[in-house]
Amino acid sequence: MIMTEKELLAKVIADLGYHPQTDEDGVLHFMFQMKTVCVIPGDEGEQSPALLLPNFAEIAENETHLVLAACNQLTRETRIIKVFINDTYQMVHASYEFYYCDEDCLRENVKRALDAFAVIRTMYARTKNRLQEAMTNK
């Protein structure tokens, strides 16, 4: 029986020891180190899914520019992770998008994404503080 990409993603995540679940909107998600990670399958036949870490930091009033600068710096420096803010300018998200050729490749990519998600909140906080200090000292 051929698995759909979503089923394969759920299998790989379960093999890694996590507990994938599907919510009422059909979104596959799982808990990783107290963070909810969502899995977005790619377009039909593309084998290009994405892992999304939504809402990992809140944006306080009047700090949108600072947060945008921090997101930009993190996206540039981490390379494999995109860090961005949502349409309402209230929350910060991170995503990891990739192509894979087979199940092993998919597993390695999921592990890489999780390694990055494990520390992205700390990296974000440090980057934001550093930028804040630099702006204050100008």
Binding site: G17, H19, F30, Q33, M34, A118, R121, T122
Partner: protein
């Protein structure tokens, strides 16, 4: 179920991979840091969460000041120096009716926040102070 079983189950549900380091000690990673989870066979309700930061200098006095500052300013998390390490700990008695995932996740957050503060203070102290000696005057400042 025992406290240990409840806590380990909660950790797995929260998405942690636990690694047994010895019979009563397990390691988890959070925000890139290794946190130690300890249980005690003789005290069935006990659960402790720890972070160990190596100091490397037996003579350095400032970790003692830093530990004192944490103990004076932080709720729940205590700090102490033991030989060549500064330890952060959150220990408590767990009860059968705990909301295990909520309690465990809050304990992790408290320790993790203290770890971030200590790392920052550590860097600042290390950069500014090479030889701090504990005196009455700097104890009062701390």
């Amino acid at each position: 179920m025992t406290t240990k079983e409840h806590v380990l189950e909660a950790l797995h549900a929260l998405g942690f991979e636990t690694k047994m380091l010895d019979g009563d000690t397990y390691g988890i990673h959070y925000e890139g840091d290794l946190l130690l989870c300890r249980f005690n066979e003789e005290d069935a309700g006990f659960f402790g969460l720890y972070y160990c930061m190596p100091i490397g200098d037996e003579e350095a006095q400032w970790p003692v000041l830093l530990a004192n500052q944490i103990n004076a300013s932080r709720n729940y998390v205590k700090a102490y120096r033991s030989e060549l390490a500064l330890w952060l700990a959150y220990e408590r008695e767990m009860f059968e009716k705990e909301e295990w995932q909520v309690t465990v996740s809050r304990m992790i957050e408290f320790v993790s926040t203290a770890v971030a503060d200590v790392k920052q203070a550590f860097l600042e102290c290390a950069a500014q102070v090479e030889n701090v000696h504990v005196t009455d005057s700097n104890l009062q400042e701390a």
